[in-house]
């Protein structure tokens, strides 16, 4: 699937030939650096109850998207069901901003034919900012593992910001920025 598997592999700088636990433990070390002296980085515990509910909802929506990809990389419609029609996205490998849900679906459909597929997707250090009850900004580190036809695995690390907006009572993903998340030096 396009979102977190095949095209992400094009991030050659951030592909790691490491095991998932190794990447995760390194990430945990990086986290202690990130959070030093900053209570605001706690995931959702510092939010008012109503905002925490929204935060949990958008995190769940993100994980549901990944689960759909793991179950079936070709389930593009299901994976993008929470995406706004005017969705936009930034990725390092794009020459420009990706504009629209339809464009995203076309690229995802083309990417889904790859022999490699995602077998694990994990979210680390989620941070959600909620405003006015109708906007949620979710940032997190993603660690995923892909397996190719020879059972060779590759681990991916990226840092992501997602912007969700509530329209007519429904939460929709309107934008995503996916960037490199290099290992701490």
């Amino acid at each position: 699937m396009f979102t977190y598997s095949h095209t992400i592999k094009q991030f050659t700088r951030i592909l790691l030939m490491a095991t998932l636990p190794m990447a995760a433990s390194t990430l945990a070390l990086g986290q202690s650096h990130n959070t030093s002296g900053n209570k605001a980085l706690a995931a959702t515990s510092s939010l008012p109850a109503s905002d925490a509910e929204i935060a949990n909802a958008v995190i769940a929506m993100t994980k549901a998207e990944w689960a759909a990809d793991i179950r079936d990389p070709n389930s593009i419609v299901e994976q993008t069901k929470d995406m706004a029609d005017d969705y936009t996205e930034f990725r390092p490998e794009y020459p420009t901003r990706l504009e629209g849900k339809d464009a995203y679906r076309r690229i995802s459909t083309a990417s889904a034919i790859s022999s490699s597929r995602t077998i694990s997707s994990e979210m680390f250090n989620p941070k959600v900012q909620v405003y006015n009850g109708d906007v949620a900004i979710l940032s997190y580190q993603y660690v995923g593992m892909d397996k190719d036809k020879d059972s060779k695995t590759e681990t991916t690390r990226v840092k992501v910001t997602r912007v969700y907006v509530k329209r007519d009572g429904t939460w929709l993903l309107v934008h995503k920025n996916v960037g490199a998340d290099p290992l701490p030096k």
């Binding site: 980085l41 901003r97 900012q129 940032s139 840092k159 309107v174 920025n177």
Partner: protein, 153 residues
């Protein structure tokens, strides 16, 4: 019969009027977009001048920024880093700006070109930037950002 027809026409006309976006709301959206674009200009200027007083006004208290290294930073450490000279901007410019408004929230996306040093090392370049702004107590402020370096540099 004529009276019924007239009343029906009036009801239809009024529902049509009320179903259309009012001129006021269109103007408000236009004003908000203008205000957001202006604030972004002020942001680039403030960064280019390493003006922490201006940045303090532009960034909301719970501002977060996912920087190029993947680290999530917040307002206080960012301002402290600029104030100390550890993080030093020479220039910041942008193009391909797109602003989308969702009520009291705006999502701005653009390409930024910056000349900037961190601890004396050049970390500038071109970035895909996402900035989310929220109108807080009648004033637009930047609440979140992510800078993704454009590869091939």
């Amino acid at each position: 019969m004529k009276r019924i027809l007239v009343v029906a026409m009036l009801v239809a006309a009024s529902s049509f009027v009320f179903s259309q976006p009012t001129l006021g709301s269109k103007n408000q959206k236009g004003n908000d977009e203008q205000a957001v674009r202006q604030l972004l200009k002020e942001l680039y200027t403030a960064l280019g001048r390493n003006d922490t007083a201006a940045l303090d006004r532009i960034y909301a208290d719970d501002y977060t920024n996912v920087i190029d290294s993947g680290v999530l930073t917040t307002k206080a450490p960012r301002l402290a880093s600029i104030k100390s000279g550890e993080l030093k901007f020479e220039s910041v410019s942008s193009d391909e700006l797109n602003v989308r408004l969702y009520g009291q929230t705006a999502v701005a996306t653009y390409r930024a070109t910056s000349k900037v040093q961190f601890k004396g090392q050049d970390i500038g370049g071109q970035f895909r930037v996402t900035v989310t702004l929220v109108k807080i107590k009648g004033r637009w402020q930047v609440v979140a950002a992510q800078n993704t370096r454009i590869t091939g540099q």
